[in-house]
C-alpha cells in the first residue's frame, strides 16, 4: 500500500523535475549557435515556382532570384551601375549589336540531394538558360507552361537574333537592333542562369518538370526543403564562387496573414518580416527596426490630351498647380511614399536631382486658367481606378481630395469609377477626361518608365492613356536607347522629364515604398534597390543587442523615415 501511494505522489513530481532539468540543464556549447547562424524570414506567400524566368510575381522572385541564382551581370552600388557577376567582363561592339560575355571559370552549381554537378559553369549553361526562353523548340521551353512573362513583356525574342558559343567560357549575343536596355534586362532578377547538366540529367530521368520545382543554380543558397504554405528552407551554398554567405540556414516562414507576421516579429519568432503592418508599433520598439525602399513605381493623375479642355497645356498646368500633393501623400499613403517630382523614382540611376517640379500654387493656377479662357472654371470628370495598388492604395479617396482642391479654383469635379476591367477598357477607348492610375516598372532601366507611359507608339498598343504625343520627347527616348554611355542617357532622360513637366500630360504624385521590419540584431542589407531582396550579406550579431540600451535613444531618429 505504502509503495503504491509513493508512486501516486511522486510520478508526476518526478516527471516535472525531469522536464525542468531537461529544459534548464542542457545548455550545450552550441545552443545559441543554430539560431545565431540562421535567419527566419516571415514571407507573405508561397512561390509558385523557383524559376524567376517564369514569373514576375514578387513572392516568386523574392524566394528564388538572389537566393538561388546569379545572372551574368548585376546592378551595383548606389548609382546602380552595371557590374560583373557570372560574366567577369563583357564587350559591346560599336554598333551595339554584338555583345560578348566572358564567363568566370570558377563557378560551382549547387550540390543537393537530387543533383551532384560534375563540372563548373560554362557557356552551355548560359546557352541553355536563354535558349529555353527564346527557342520555342527547345526541350525545356514548354515545361512549366512556356510563359516567360518578363521576357515577353520586353519583347526579348524580337530583339535577340541568336546566341553564339565562342568557346567554353565566351558567349555572344547578336541583336537585331541596337538597344541599350538589353544589358539592363540581363541584369534583372529574371535573367538567371540554370544548369544545363541538371537539365540533361532530368531529361534522362524523364522528370523535366522538376527543373523549376527542385532548382539548381549558382546562388549563395541552395534549396533544402519546401512545403507549400508552410516553409522554404535554404542551406548555404558552401562552394559559392564569391565569399560564402554568412548565415548557414535561411528559412522562409510563409505567413500570409499580416497580423500573424506582426505577432511573429514581435515575439521574435522571425528575424525579418516582409510587408509589416503597424509601423508605429515597430518604430517604438528599440529591438526592432523598420526599413523602407522606394519601389520602381509611380502613381499619377493623367489628363486626356485629346479632349477639351485638356488639349490645352495651360489647363493641364493649372490643374496640376492646384493639387496639394503633400496632403495626398499624407492621407492616402499615410506618409509611406516618396513624393514624385516626375515619373522616374529617385532610386533610378537616371534620376536627375535638378528636375524641376511644379509646386502647389492655387493662385498661379487660377491665373493660368484665366489666360486659358476658363476664368469661370469648368466641369470635368476624374476616373478613379477601383482597385488597390501599392502606387495608389485608394484612388477614390484621392479623387475626392483632388475634387476639394480643384473646387478652390472653381473647377467642378465628377468622380467616375467602373469595375476594373471595364475601367481599363473604357480608358483605352479614351472616354475619360482625366484619370488616376499608376505604373510599376518591370526592370530598373529608366526606359521602362518613359516609353510605355508616354511615347507616341504606346498610344495605340501600350499604356499611354493620356494620348499625348510629343515628337521631341520620342526623339530623346530613341537617342537614349541608342547609346550605352550612361551619362549621355541620363542627360537625355533629364531633358525628357523637363518636357513632361512643361507639357504636363500627367502629374506624377508618389512612388510607394516597400517596407520591411527586422530585429536590430540582424545586420546587413536585405532590400535591393529595385524592390527585390537578398540575404547574401545578412548576419546576426547578438553582441550588439547588449549595447542596445545605450544606443536606443538614437534609434528613434533612424526609424523615422
Amino acid at each position: 500500500m505504502a509503495v503504491s501511494m509513493m508512486n501516486f505522489k511522486f510520478i508526476p513530481f518526478l516527471t516535472v523535475t525531469a522536464l525542468i532539468s531537461l529544459i534548464m540543464g542542457c545548455n550545450e556549447g552550441n545552443i545559441l549557435s543554430l539560431s545565431e547562424r540562421s535567419i527566419i524570414y516571415c514571407s507573405e506567400g508561397s512561390p509558385e515556382t523557383f524559376n524567376p524566368q517564369l514569373s514576375t510575381s514578387g513572392t516568386t522572385s523574392d524566394a528564388s532570384a538572389k537566393q538561388l541564382y546569379n545572372s551574368l551581370i548585376v546592378y551595383k552600388g548606389s548609382k546602380n551601375t552595371l557590374a560583373p557577376s557570372l560574366a567577369s567582363s563583357w564587350h559591346v561592339t560599336r554598333d551595339g549589336k554584338k555583345i560578348t560575355f566572358y564567363l568566370r571559370q570558377d563557378v560551382n552549381f549547387h550540390q543537393t540531394g537530387y543533383f551532384t554537378p560534375t563540372r563548373k559553369l560554362n557557356a552551355d549553361d548560359v546557352l541553355f538558360s536563354f535558349n529555353r526562353i527564346l527557342d520555342k523548340d527547345h526541350a525545356f521551353h514548354h515545361i512549366s507552361g512556356g510563359q516567360y512573362s518578363f521576357f515577353q513583356s520586353v519583347k526579348f525574342s524580337e530583339l535577340v537574333e541568336k546566341i553564339e558559343k565562342i568557346n567554353d567560357f565566351t558567349i555572344r549575343f547578336i541583336l537585331k537592333r541596337n538597344d541599350s536596355s538589353f544589358l539592363a534586362n540581363l541584369a534583372t532578377d529574371y535573367a538567371v542562369i540554370l544548369s544545363e547538366e541538371y537539365g540533361q540529367q532530368l531529361t534522362i530521368e524523364d522528370k523535366q518538370h522538376e527543373i523549376d520545382i527542385l532548382p539548381i543554380g549558382t546562388g549563395p543558397f541552395k534549396l533544402q526543403d519546401y512545403r507549400v504554405g508552410s516553409l522554404i528552407r535554404f542551406y548555404r551554398h558552401d562552394e559559392y564562387w564569391q565569399e560564402k554567405a554568412k548565415i548557414e540556414q535561411l528559412v522562409y516562414d510563409i505567413s500570409p496573414s499580416k497580423s500573424n507576421r506582426l505577432t511573429k516579429l514581435l515575439a521574435k519568432e522571425c528575424d525579418v518580416s516582409s510587408y509589416p503592418i503597424a509601423h508605429s508599433t515597430i518604430a517604438e520598439r528599440s529591438d526592432l527596426k523598420l526599413e523602407s525602399i522606394t519601389s520602381l513605381n509611380v502613381g499619377y493623375f493623367g489628363f486626356n490630351t485629346k479632349k477639351a479642355p485638356f488639349d490645352n497645356k495651360l489647363v493641364r498646368q493649372a490643374i496640376s498647380l492646384a493639387i496639394n500633393k503633400k496632403a495626398l501623400i499624407d492621407t492616402i499613403y499615410q506618409g509611406q511614399a516618396a513624393r514624385a517630382k516626375s515619373i522616374l523614382p529617385e532610386t533610378s540611376w537616371a534620376y536627375d536631382r535638378n528636375t524641376p517640379e511644379l509646386g502647389y500654387n492655387p493662385v498661379r493656377a487660377k491665373s493660368l486658367l484665366e489666360v486659358a479662357g476658363y476664368a469661370q472654371g469648368f466641369t470635368m470628370d476624374i476616373w478613379a481606378m477601383p482597385v488597390q495598388r501599392a502606387y495608389n492604395p485608394s484612388a477614390v479617396t484621392m479623387a475626392k481630395l483632388i475634387q476639394a482642391d480643384l473646387k478652390k479654383i472653381g473647377v467642378k469635379v465628377k468622380i467616375v469609377t467602373y469595375e476594373w476591367s471595364t475601367f481599363l477598357r473604357r480608358l483605352s477607348m479614351g472616354e475619360h477626361q482625366s484619370f488616376l492610375l499608376g505604373w510599376t516598372a518591370d526592370h530598373p532601366d529608366p526606359d521602362n518608365f518613359f516609353t510605355p507611359m508616354l511615347s507616341c507608339t504606346s498610344r495605340e498598343k501600350g499604356s499611354n492613356r493620356t494620348f499625348w504625343c510629343n515628337k521631341e520627347y520620342d526623339e530623346l527616348l530613341k537617342k537614349a536607347l541608342k547609346t550605352t554611355n550612361m551619362s549621355k542617357r541620363k542627360s537625355y532622360y533629364a531633358q525628357a522629364m523637363t518636357i513632361i513637366n512643361e507639357e504636363m500630360p500627367l502629374l506624377a504624385i508618389a512612388h510607394s515604398k516597400r517596407f520591411q521590419a527586422r530585429g536590430t540584431d540582424v545586420k546587413g542589407d536585405i532590400l535591393e534597390n529595385f524592390g527585390g531582396i537578398s540575404f547574401y550579406d545578412v548576419y546576426k550579431n547578438n553582441e550588439v543587442s547588449s549595447t542596445n540600451e545605450i544606443t536606443a535613444p538614437n534609434k528613434k531618429e533612424k526609424v523615422v523615415d
Partner: protein, 342 residues
C-alpha cells in the same frame, strides 16, 4: 476482466459502426455528387468517375454502398482532400499525433494543477482557501478559450517575449517525422541540435497547453473536491481517525487514493472536451494539428476532409475513453463487475 473487455470491445465496434454510418450519410447530405464527396476527386474524368462508382458500388442498394464505404475506410482509404488533392490518410497520420501530443500535455497540466487544488480545497472545506480556489475555478471555467489564447499571446509572447506564439517548434530545426509526436521524434533524431530542439519544442508547447488546460483543470478541481469531501465523510476515514492516525497519514494513505479512483473515471469524458478546446487553440497558436486542419477544411468546404477528419478524431476520442475505462477498472476491482456500461 474478460467480460469487461469483451463488453467494451462490443461497445467500441457498435459505436464505430454508428460513427461510420454518420460519416457515410454525410456524403449524401453535403452538396454535390455523393461519390465525389466520398472520394474527394473533384477533377475526376468520366472514366475515373466510372471506376469510383464501381469501387463504391454506387449502382447497388444503400446497404452495399455502405459496406463498400466501410471497406475503403478499413483499408485506410479516406479519399483525398478536395482542396489539396492529396490523400486524407496522410494528413491524418501527420496531424493527429500533434493534436494528441498537445492534448496529452494539456491533460497532464490540467490534472497536475486541478487535482491537488481540489484536494486542498476539500481538506479546507468552507474556509477561505476553499472559497478562493472555488472562485478561481469558476472564473477559469467561464473564460472563453479563444480570448484566453489571444490574451496569453499578447502578454507572454508580445509583451514579455518569454514564449513563442505559433507552431510547435522553431522552423530552424529539422526533425525527421517518425511517430509524429514531436518530443519522441526529437529524442529519436540524430541532429546535433537535439537538446536545443527539445528546449525549443517545450517552450512552444507551454502556452497552448496551458490555455487548453485551464477549463479542464477547473473541472478537475471541482471533481476532486467533491470526491475528497465524499471520501473524508466515509466511515473508514472516521475509523482511521479514531485509531489515532495522523492527519497526513489519513490523507496520503487513504483519502487520496480513494478519491483519485473517482476522478479517473471522468478523465475520459474530460478528454473529449479537451480535444474540442484544442481544435480552437490550434487555430490561434498555428499548431499544425488536426483541429486546425479540420477548421480550415470547413472554411474551404472540403467535404471529404470534414467527414474523414471527424471520423478519425471521434474514433481517437472514443479509444481514449475506453482506455480510461480500463485504467479505472484496473484500479478499482468493484467496477469490473458492473453489468451495465458506465
Amino acid at each position: 476482466m474478460l467480460t469487461f473487455t469483451l463488453r467494451r470491445l462490443g461497445l467500441f465496434l457498435f459505436t464505430m459502426m454508428v460513427l461510420t454510418l454518420l460519416s457515410f450519410s454525410l456524403s449524401f447530405l453535403f452538396p454535390g455528387d455523393t461519390v465525389i464527396n466520398h472520394s474527394g476527386q473533384i477533377n475526376a474524368t468520366a472514366t475515373d468517375l466510372a471506376k469510383l462508382n464501381e469501387a463504391y458500388q454506387m449502382d447497388k442498394n444503400i446497404f452495399r454502398q455502405y459496406t463498400a464505404y466501410l471497406q475503403h475506410i478499413i483499408t485506410g482509404d479516406f479519399g483525398q482532400s478536395m482542396s489539396s488533392q492529396s490523400p486524407i490518410s496522410n494528413a491524418i497520420i501527420e496531424l493527429l499525433p500533434a493534436t494528441i501530443e498537445l492534448s496529452l500535455v494539456a491533460l497532464l497540466i490540467a490534472m497536475l494543477v486541478g487535482i491537488p487544488l481540489g484536494f486542498i480545497s476539500a481538506i479546507n472545506h468552507n474556509k477561505t482557501s476553499d472559497n478562493a480556489i472555488l472562485s478561481f475555478a469558476m472564473i477559469g471555467y467561464s473564460i472563453p478559450v479563444f480570448w484566453l489564447g489571444l490574451l496569453a499571446i499578447l502578454l507572454f509572447s508580445i509583451g514579455l517575449g518569454w514564449l513563442p506564439s505559433s507552431g510547435k517548434i522553431s522552423l530552424l530545426f529539422e526533425i525527421e517525422f517518425v511517430t509524429g509526436i514531436q518530443f519522441i521524434d526529437i529524442l529519436l533524431s540524430d541532429s546535433p541540435y537535439k537538446w536545443q530542439a527539445f528546449n525549443n519544442a517545450s517552450a512552444h508547447i507551454i502556452l497552448p497547453a496551458c490555455v487548453i488546460a485551464l477549463a479542464p483543470a477547473t473541472i478537475f478541481i471541482r471533481l476532486s473536491r467533491a470526491a475528497m469531501i465524499e471520501v473524508l465523510a466515509t466511515s473508514y476515514i472516521r475509523a482511521a481517525r479514531a485509531k489515532g492516525l495522523s492527519f497526513q497519514q489519513i490523507i496520503f494513505r487513504h483519502a487520496i487514493r480513494n478519491a483519485l479512483i473517482q476522478i479517473i473515471r471522468h478523465v475520459g469524458l474530460q478528454f473529449a472536451n479537451l480535444v474540442t478546446l484544442a481544435m480552437v487553440t490550434e487555430v490561434i497558436f498555428s499548431w499544425p494539428g488536426i483541429g486546425r486542419w479540420l477548421i480550415e477544411s470547413i472554411s474551404q468546404r472540403d467535404y471529404t476532409a470534414i467527414q474523414s477528419g471527424l471520423l478519425a478524431l471521434s474514433c481517437f476520442i472514443f479509444i481514449v475513453h475506453i482506455l480510461t475505462d480500463f485504467i479505472y477498472a484496473a484500479l478499482n476491482p468493484l467496477a469490473r463487475g458492473n453489468s451495465h456500461g458506465s
